[in-house]
């Protein structure tokens, strides 16, 4: 059913093509492991952008906290990765002692190894289940979901909408990152969790191979997320979401429980972000509070806006283009421009370019890069209407009156 939609088909086909080409090139040694990792990570970011598009582009909730859910997923999986790797090391060391290790000794030794960096050796309660992969995997999805549920319930119930909700989500994100920055929070403070690229049990597999496995996993997850998102926005559910975006009050008058719809989207997208994070951070190797800082979530919105919100492939294109371009420009890949009196170094000027292009896209190309597709196909997408008035709607109508 979904598969028959041309945009979905094209998307899945291109995704498969990119993944296969990357694999073949990597096998042939033509692209480096770091590029494969970059690609895999970008695909994970695309999942987060998809989620952001669902919640903002389709439902009109500008959440400035979705990247925090992404980070939570990373933390959840990171805890297991660190714990298990450390446990292997520790039991190996303890096995050399004449006495067989007691459970307390093992736990203490793991605690010292993991938390020695932050000057502690006790295992915080947060780490109670860190030894179990299935539980931590579940937490990677459930914890963001639960937090989104509670936060969303509180916010939507008291009808916090528009920019107020944005600011509230941003404040919540700031609170979370400040909390994580503390050494006492039990998640290793500013250092975060590191060495995540070493997967326990797969020590014999080289990073070159692992990176491909993760690329495939990320591609599969993106494909799944895309189908899920497509399914969500098609049909009646999707229509209600767009209705909420365009005129929330009217949808409410039609008898829909607007809050339930918003809450459902908010929670599901948070879980999606958690899943993406759980795939992303083993590739990045380290997760720390800076990842969760409010600016990261704003960038997520930037990607979606540049890619073109209100259409799923737009979000994916935006995330991919901006994060790859960012990596190219800051990596010194772009040549300096010599103006004679001044040399533009892209490491210095890339952020200026990004910021300004973002303003320009908002002003002159609200459909973003996805709009280029319209030019090409020569038709206006059915799903892309006006971007949705929010608080200002009432006033603009007054003005017209």
């Amino acid at each position: 059913m979904l598969i028959r939609k041309p945009s979905v088909l094209v998307f899945l086909a291109s995704l498969a093509l990119i993944t296969i080409v990357a694999t073949v090139l990597a096998q042939a040694g033509l692209v480096s492991t770091s590029f494969v990792k970059l690609l895999g990570k970008t695909l994970c970011l695309c999942i987060a952008a998809l989620a952001m598009d669902l919640v903002w582009g389709y439902t009109g909730i500008l959440s400035l906290g979705h990247f925090a859910f992404f980070g939570m997923g990373g933390y959840a999986i990171g805890m297991w990765l660190m714990w298990d790797r450390t446990e292997t090391i520790v039991t190996g060391t303890l096995a050399q002692s004449p006495l067989p290790p007691t459970p307390l000794e093992i736990e203490e030794a793991i605690g010292t190894q993991i938390f020695g960096v932050v000057g502690s050796s006790d295992v915080p309660w947060l780490w109670a289940f860190a030894g179990s992969l299935p539980l931590q995997l579940a937490f990677a999805v459930l914890v963001p979901g639960l937090i989104a549920l509670v936060f969303g319930w509180l916010a939507f119930r008291s009808r916090v909408t528009g920019v107020y909700l944005s600011i509230l989500t941003q404040a919540g994100t700031l609170a979370l990152s400040l909390w994580l920055f503390q050494n006492d929070s039990g998640l290793r403070g500013n250092n975060g969790l590191s060495g995540l690229q070493n997967i326990p049990g797969l020590e014999s597999v080289s990073q070159a191979v692992l990176s491909l496995w993760f690329l495939w996993a990320s591609a599969a997850a993106l494909a799944g997320a895309y189908l899920l998102a497509q399914w969500t926005v098609s049909g009646r559910f999707g229509s209600v979401l767009r209705g909420i975006r365009d005129d929330e009050a009217r949808v409410r008058f039609l008898g829909y429980e607007v809050e339930h719809y918003k809450l459902a989207v908010f929670t599901v997208t948070a879980m999606l972000c958690g899943l993406a994070g759980a795939l992303y951070y083993p590739q990045a190797g380290i997760v720390n509070p800076a990842e969760i800082a409010p600016i990261a979530s704003i960038y997520l919105a930037v990607w979606v806006a540049i890619g073109g919100r209100g259409r799923l492939y737009g979000a994916v294109i935006g995330a991919a283009v901006v994060s790859l371009a960012s990596s190219w420009f800051t990596g010194g890949g772009a040549p300096d421009i010599n103006l004679g009196f001044y040399v533009i170094k892209w490491t210095d000027w890339w952020l200026v370019l990004l910021g300004l292009s973002f303003v320009l896209v908002t002003l002159y190309a609200p459909k973003g890069l996805g709009g280029l597709v319209d030019l090409w196909t020569g038709r206006r997408s059915r799903n892309v209407g006006p971007m949705g008035p929010d608080v200002g709607a009432l006033r603009s109508k007054e003005e017209q009156a």
Partner: protein, 422 residues
């Protein structure tokens, strides 16, 4: 699907010794944008200057040296990514890089996986000794402990305020100091600890708390591990509260010439900093170094401790490569042990088997022109990877050439782990 060809290809890539094929490539892994650019850009310029100087002196192994600069943008995961890029794509022979501990910990797994070589130039909290990193900055026993000794012995301080930014270096350093102070007979209630966020600006209450500490008539001293910009607000508040260095001396471990250039230092005269290098050190090598730096970067630029660390590290590496007649990492590492190079402050730095340097410790008083008056200089102190002042690490030692282990338990006489704990 079989991936064996890929595996071997990657392994070959990773382990192929870089046999002095020209040019010799030096990777520079310092943030040029983001929050850490403030400190790290200077180090990038330092390495570039050292590379140019070496090229002017005839290069290395008959090759030109080329600096490959990348920008990890103060984004910690990017340090891992860029390190991998430097080692596999650019195939550099050595990396000079990192400032924060977290960025080093981020790059470590990659360095160990690909058997790279990195020189890390910043004072840090210790508790680490990787086979693939040479730590040219100070370990706690080369900065914090001597400074505290100075407080205890020369200033007669009996109550301590340990103020720090909330991250790993201050936390660990303060832990070490707390336990050291207790061993020196300072009671727990005489140690006040406070942590503030990065870039903190509201210091009135904290300064007030510190002043209150002197209420029982004993001498109070502040040990500051406050990082970066936050120092500006802190010192401004100290000056505003008219806390003179004679009343409550402050010794800082993260404030150098570079940080002071953002401040009017008239009210800070007499407060202290502990480093292994000050620009005001009187030696001919230092005068040449400072002059070369100013000529390259501008008259108003200053030199600082991590720059000297790179200066020593780079020259030692050059000498080690020359001695080994190859840039191959394993050969260079072997040649590094015992390398000696004159410090800019006088005396000689020696590379120890635990990958740390033996360097003198200097204590300086801030002067009106934003420099430091060196009032105390020890002989060379060997850097200690694992501190003697925490029970868990007191039993650990690091000796790569001798024991082949960076985390060796001397009690059980076993190697805890070959790789580092990240």
């Amino acid at each position: 699907m079989t991936r064996t060809p890929l595996l071997t290809a990657a392994l070959a890539l990773a382990t192929a010794p870089a046999l002095a094929d020209c040019p010799v490539k030096v990777g520079v892994l310092h943030s040029l944008s983001g929050t850490m650019a403030i400190s790290e850009t200077t180090l990038k310029d330092t390495v570039e200057m050292l590379v140019d100087q070496q090229n002017a002196a005839g290069g290395l192994l008959g090759c030109e040296i080329e600096a490959v600069v990348v920008d990890p943008a103060s984004d910690w995961p990017l340090f891992a990514e860029k390190a991998r890029e430097l080692l596999t794509v650019e195939e550099v022979d050595v990396i000079f890089g990192s400032w924060t501990s977290v960025s080093r910990k981020s790059a470590l797994p990659v360095l160990e996986e690909l058997n790279g070589l990195m020189f890390y130039p910043v004072q840090y909290e210790g508790e680490e000794s990787s086979k693939n990193v040479f730590y040219t900055g100070a370990a706690p026993n080369q900065q914090a402990i001597p400074a505290v000794d100075y407080f205890l012995e020369e200033l007669g301080v009996e109550r301590f305020a340990l103020l720090g930014t909330d991250y790993v270096y201050p936390r660990t350093t303060n832990n070490i100091l707390e336990s050291y102070l207790k061993s020196k007979g300072i009671a727990e209630e005489d140690i006040f600890v406070n942590y503030t966020p990065f870039g903190h600006s509201d210091w009135a209450t904290i300064v007030g708390d510190v002043v209150e500490l002197s209420e029982d008539g004993r001498q109070v001293g502040v040990i500051s591990t406050i990082n970066g910009d936050a120092n500006i607000g802190f010192y401004k508040e100290l000056a505003a509260a008219e806390v003179s260095a004679d009343d409550i001396p402050v010794v800082a471990f993260s404030v150098g010439e570079e940080e002071l250039s953002g401040l009017d230092t008239t009210d800070l005269v007499g407060h202290l900093a502990a480093w292994n290098y000050f620009q005001s050190a009187e030696s001919e090598a230092n005068e040449e170094f400072v002059a070369a730096w100013k000529e390259r970067m501008g008259e108003d630029r200053v030199t600082n401790d991590p720059m000297e660390a790179h200066y020593i590290g780079f020259n030692m590496w050059v000498n080690a490569v020359t001695a080994a007649e190859t840039t191959d990492v394993d050969a260079v590492r072997e040649a590094m042990y015992g390398q000696e190079f004159p410090n800019l402050t006088g005396g000689t730095a020696v590379m120890l088997p635990n990958h740390h340097l033996a360097k003198p410790v200097l204590i300086g008083e801030i002067t009106e022109d934003g420099q430091f008056d060196i009032i105390s200089q020890t002989s060379e102190v060997p850097g200690d990877a694992w501190t003697d002042h925490l029970p868990e690490s007191a039993v650990l030692t690091s000796d790569w050439p001798g024991l082949g282990c960076g985390m060796y338990n001397t009690e059980t006489e076993t190697c805890v782990q070959i790789q580092s704990n990240y």
